[in-house]
Amino acid sequence: MSRVVLRELTKQYAGNTALSLDSVSLDVAHGEFICLVGPSGCGKTTALRMIAGLETVTSGEIEIGDRVVNDLAPRDRDIALVFQSYALYPHMTVFDNMSFGLKLRKVPKHEIETAVTEAARILDLEQYLDRKPGQLSGGQRQRVALGRAIVRNPAAFLMDEPLSNLDAKLRVQTRAEIARLHHRLGATMIYVTHDQVEAMTMADRIAVINLGKLEQVGSPRELYDRPANQFVAGFIGSPSMNFVPMHVVSVDGGIRVVSPEGEMDVTLNDAESDMIRRAGVTEVVLGVRPEHIDNRPRSGLGLQLTASVDVIEFLGNDEHVHLSSGSHDLVAIVDARTPLRIGDSLTLSASSEAIHLFHPETGVALK
């Protein structure tokens, strides 16, 4: 079983007062594909490098396949790492690059041959085995880096933004290739990326990290539907969620949430009213995703707002419309066939299920 467990993993670099990684705990099941996402410098790569053994552990524990590996050298951890830069050996052929690790482990020659040929077949690299990395395109190099990891058949694959150096089209293609590879090998994969789209499309579960802290772990759907806090809500989904600070007002024994200038108005359902009462707040941050705002007429529960059109971004099937409502800027995604012009005044709405409410100070989602 190649489970990977992090227990309160903490990293503090010498000379730094801040923690680069602050007591992160994560349990990655055998065969699971988990993505660590977060903005640049959030500590996700540090976490991966600690699992690989390239960084020392300040405190906490790393367990790979039921063994605590804190004090093991990288080569004894039974992991493979795909680098963001690919880190191919430029003086070796593709075959030698892929077989380097096996040769060092004194694997018999015919086994090496079989493993490399098989990996080359899976990755469509068979005709390039005699080439050097300098003679390959970016996508091919990326696949050699993957192949080098595959041939070793490790307990866990670690990947550090492996797609960030590819152009957009190749990235989509390779994304699918890695997902297929994971399916085929059934191996545990820990994948670091700053691109939430990659995380959403490939991962079984996503761990969102910010400023060294684990913000939330869950399936892509959980993170999208029930973000634990304002950071996760804003990070997952593109364009990101709209946030508006709102007042809580009592009306006829019930409560409503309205924007300071009154252009936005939320009629709460009972559960939401209870949430606000439990939290005992008079201010709240409203979150609503651009794709959930539309111009369908809605009455009753949910959000109503009036806004004027600032910018229209045509994307073919739909349009991203930048709106201003009172002193707030919002983005909404609307059908491209909607006739809109800059300066138009609109009445828009969002359904009750699309409403997210966050604590105004802590940013935690109200429950």
Binding site: A52, G53, L54, A73, P74, R75, I79, A80, L81, F83, S85, Y86, A87, L88, Y89, P90, H91, F100, G101, L104, R105, D124, Q127, K132, P133, G134, Q135, L136, S137, G138, G139, Q140, R141, R148, R152, N165
Partner: protein, 306 residues
């Protein structure tokens, strides 16, 4: 999937660009370059011709008269100086002594410099930058100031351990290695900083220890630097007269430089031996240069990262 190879064409040199812009013809440029090359080669060619002319002609006519009377050329001088074979005091014996000094002094400098640079660049110990600065500082020490102290140090070694390197070939080698190292480490360290750390980390994960990483990954990538260092050091040691003169004082085996020096210092210098011996001493560095130049390849790191 595309099979494009993405190999960038070599960038045009400034000269080539200039030629294109100014509409010089390629032929004119080649003529100028050839003239410069010939001008630079004149001393060497004249030396070669003198060595090929009979001893008796040396005082009578200049070497350039060979172009009007080429029949005078002969290998006589060579057969005379080689006739002694490897006997002590002969040119071949000196050639062997020169090789005995130069090869170890070059190999050791290349090896120790690479190892030291590896540690300075990729090691984890504190104070690496300070040590490097001290080493760079040592480059400015002229070797003359160290001659007498080192001789005394050698003698002290002899008193303490009964091993006095003074007057021996290893004694000369040690001196050359010590004075070759600061520049060697400087050159190698600056080259190794260009090797991406990711490559070493990849090796570490795949199971390579420090030693394997050094000679399977770092050393092959550092070959261009090692080749240039080896050529520098080889030619420097090969041409050295001062150190050999001081440290090999009474030794009967002398390198070529001392052999040639001995021929000139008597009142009537043996110019035919000097010229012939000098040609012999040029041949070896030429062989070294031409056999190492294939390591001067651009873009050894192409395709490593990104």
């Amino acid at each position: 999937m595309s099979t494009a190879t993405n190999v960038a064409p070599p960038r045009e040199s400034k000269l080539v660009a200039l030629v294109k812009r100014r509409h010089f013809t390629k032929g004119a440029v080649n003529v100028v370059l050839a003239l410069v090359a010939i001008f630079w080669l004149v001393p060497t060619i004249s030396l070669l011709i003198i060595s090929l002319r009979p001893e008796s002609l040396f005082g009578q006519s200049g070497w350039w008269t060979v172009f009007t009377a080429p029949a005078h050329l002969t290998f006589g001088n060579y057969s005379t100086i080689f006739s002694q074979g490897f006997a002590t005091g002969g040119v071949l014996n000196s050639l062997i002594t020169s090789l005995e000094i130069t090869i170890p002094a070059t190999v050791l400098v290349a090896l120790i410099s690479s190892l030291a640079a590896y540690s300075l660049v990729f090691g984890f110990w504190r104070g690496r930058d300070i040590i490097f600065l001290v080493i760079v500082g040592l480059m400015v020490v002229p070797l003359q100031v160290a001659l007498i102290p080192v001789v005394q140090f050698y003698r002290e070694l002899g008193n303490l351990f009964g091993l006095n390197p003074y007057g021996t070939i290893p004694g000369v080698i040690i001196f050359h290695v010590a004075f070759g190292l600061p520049f060697g480490i400087f050159l190698m360290r600056n080259f190794l900083t260009g090797i991406p750390k990711d490559l070493l980390e990849a090796g570490r994960i795949e199971g390579a220890g420090e030693w394997k990483i050094f000679y399977r990954i770092v050393l092959p990538l550092a070959l261009p630097a090692i080749a240039s260092l080896a050529i520098f050091q080889f030619i420097w040691v090969w041409n050295d007269l001062l150190v050999a003169l001081v440290f090999l004082g009474g030794n009967v085996h002398t390198p070529l430089t001392i052999f040639l020096y001995d021929q000139t210092r008597s009142l009537a210098a043996n110019y035919w031996i000097v010229s012939t011996g000098a040609v012999v001493s040029i041949v070896v560095p030429l062989i070294v240069f031409f056999s190492f130049q294939r390591y001067f390849v651009r873009g050894v790191l192409a395709g490593a990262v990104k």
